[in-house]
Amino acid sequence: METYFFYFIAASMLVFSLLAVTSRRILRAAVYLLFSLAGTAAFYFMIDYFFLAAVQLIVYAGGIVVLIIFSILLTSHIADKLERPDMMKNAFSAVLVLGGIALTAFVLGNFADGAPSATNQLNMQIIGEKLMNYKENGYVLPFEVISILLLAAMVSAIVVAKRTKTKNDV
């Protein structure tokens, strides 16, 4: 039963991803992206990584998609359809992409599978301890670097998007 659920989620994720990159209405593309990301969160729930699933829903589905939708509303006329990509570009991209998928799948077929492990349960306490741990298998250094990166991104986003006096202003 859960196996079928996984294949259902996987198929819907692929369909929504394909729609997100081919839809000619830009707002719909963003909503298809949202569905695809929510499917990813469902996958994380299935695999028992609840914290990661929650972060996926909050940051991706809640944060980034809303940001993308706001940027669409501020920069595009959503009634217009996007123009179709020209045939040559489309054909070359499709050939490249299908070739890439075939090559990677061929390489994957030559390797044996692992089995998922049920022994390790990841609870919130382990996540907190690992994020604050500076000994072996601790992640305090990337945690701090990420915090500085987020601060820098926040400041730079404000500075770049701030209205400056240009000659277009009245």
Partner: protein, 106 residues
Amino acid sequence: MMFENIPLNHILILTISMFFIGVYGFLTRKNLVTVLISVELMLNAVNINFVAFDKYLHPGTFEGHFFSLFVIAIAAAEAAVAIAIFFNLYRNIRSIDVESVDKMKY
């Protein structure tokens, strides 16, 4: 454990298909926001890959889990800066098409 019937290869096929769908969008789209959507799809596929490898091949260490957390944080920062740049571009040249942003060159 309800996941043991699914081979790792099937998850990897899902992620590489999703990644290359993102590459297709990156190559064919003209609007910068849709290009950003494609990039997010690619990052998402890589995240699933990390988690699958963590669960199947290196159980107990949770390395892929934490790597995915950091990738999500970096994706959020990247999206914020990219969209700030789009706003600035739109304000200056009234367009966010890929072919019309050659004014960023010096």
